[in-house]
Symmetry: C2
Subunit: 342 residues, 2 copies
Amino acid sequence: MRATLMYGAGDVRVEDVPDARLIEPTDALVRVTRAAVCGSDLWPYKSMPHDDAGRRMGHEFIGVVEAVGSDVETVKDGDLVVSPFLWSDGSCVFCREGLQSACLHGGRYGLDDVDGGQGEAVRVPPADGTLVVLPLRADEALMASLLALPDVMGTGHHAALVAKVGRGKIVAVVGDGAVGLCGVIASKRLGADRIILLGSNPERTALGQELGATDVVRERGEEAVARVRELAEHGAHSVLECVGLEQAVDTALAIARPGGAIGRVGVPEHDTTATGVAFWKNVSTAGGPAPVRAYIEELLPDVLEGRIEPGRVFDRTGSIEDVPDGYRAMNDREVLKFQIKP
Amino acid sequence: MRATLMYGAGDVRVEDVPDARLIEPTDALVRVTRAAVCGSDLWPYKSMPHDDAGRRMGHEFIGVVEAVGSDVETVKDGDLVVSPFLWSDGSCVFCREGLQSACLHGGRYGLDDVDGGQGEAVRVPPADGTLVVLPLRADEALMASLLALPDVMGTGHHAALVAKVGRGKIVAVVGDGAVGLCGVIASKRLGADRIILLGSNPERTALGQELGATDVVRERGEEAVARVRELAEHGAHSVLECVGLEQAVDTALAIARPGGAIGRVGVPEHDTTATGVAFWKNVSTAGGPAPVRAYIEELLPDVLEGRIEPGRVFDRTGSIEDVPDGYRAMNDREVLKFQIKP
């Protein structure tokens, strides 16, 4: 069959490869009817060192099932199916929680005898856990939108969900690529009041406005921040970071409202930074100076009724004249926390 | 009156200062009955350059109201009151949302004619917005726990809330200082199943166990991560980072479960990093590889019924033989997203 391989930066070839075939009893063999090139496919296209073996490409596809292994239950020959950009078993603890992208037994297309999506056919491992059957035959008008589901639309939706987009919210979307535009769609779908799209490409931002963006900011860096602040005095409640470059992350932080949320789906420029580690684990990070005024009222009944005893952290008490020694003792780790009775 | 001033690293003095007095009609004058030294007071104690004027210290206190300005409505002479570590107006948009630590008109104790808490009396600006009246006279047994409310208990509670602590959750608390121990209390109060306390001080971790920690990890760095993984195979759902040093943040990220949440209340070592900016704004950051398998089912009805049209991001279609040129065109930004019909 024909399939796409990348041999290095700028070197993409369509070649004959062995036909896709069932290997495991949980596999499905899917004849690809639509596939896509992802923005993330462009990273190796820009920088991949030459590799004589080539790398099978593609992780976004729709297709028709041609054969299934003996253990497959939910998918059958002739079904039109869509795959997420990762395959997953559907049964591990993370899949059951809805975080299939952290599947303990899942993986990527194009590796380890699993075909890439940019080819004529794909062996899909754990077919039951991975594939979703579409309730129609090939309706041409919808096919492109269905092809957005394996990655860009789901990714824009993820950004909007984790950025807590909802009714009454001001949203800013950083990036006018396919994921950013899908972030606009997702934000509108989730009821955002106002959607500010940050992007410099006139055609893409125009499409963004058709898809739901209420405002476009073409500036970059500090000028972009100033422009967003003109549109939203305290910043945006929800910021969808759909680029991944450090400058985009800095912009996202600068335009976020105090107490706001940033949804990061732009793959981070550097994997090993704290934000890179958090990204790959889908870990959220929040916090800052505590709004203690609100919490005093919430916690006070528990203190008054003795259900919590935070006062146990005070292990030394002195008069105000003892305060200098209290500092010394805390600094020497001789005292955990010093209490003053003036 | 007597009050605490810091003149530089290691140089804390108790001195006579002008008596606290009402200035604004919204002020209250509070006679301090209990105050505390904060872990954050130790940073200038370690590093503050000498300052001839000295800095008024203290932001955690309880006291009795001696006088109020003409505009104060909720606080009266003789009330026993507790203050958050920041003062706030109670009426701005952030205060109304419960994020008083981002009050547009609030501030810190010890600056701009507002007294510090480590002294005999304090002028408290916007008294109505800042002070909480305690429904009792001075009950000695509870006073230490009430004194934890202005900062450490509220801060530990904030860490637990933003780390999404709740029933069924495995929690890890990084740091055995007063805030970390209050994070243990908060996690137990919010129903955590298991609370792993990471700290090296035997007395403090023993207190942590009395307050609710189910496990203690004394190791640091990679050994600590390995030990947590023995206790919780995939990591902790909720991690409370109560230190602020970069190593503690790295540990928090390493022990967080995929899909988990980190609550950061340890004041960051570096203010200008992305995590430092996020901290001071109380902005949350989340995201990573989207669990598209779950979202396909959620979004599919909207695509099938035409309510969303993410397919509009595909602006060129070609056969599989056209794929190499599709990569080129996307890389040249000539095409937004390339669709393949094999």
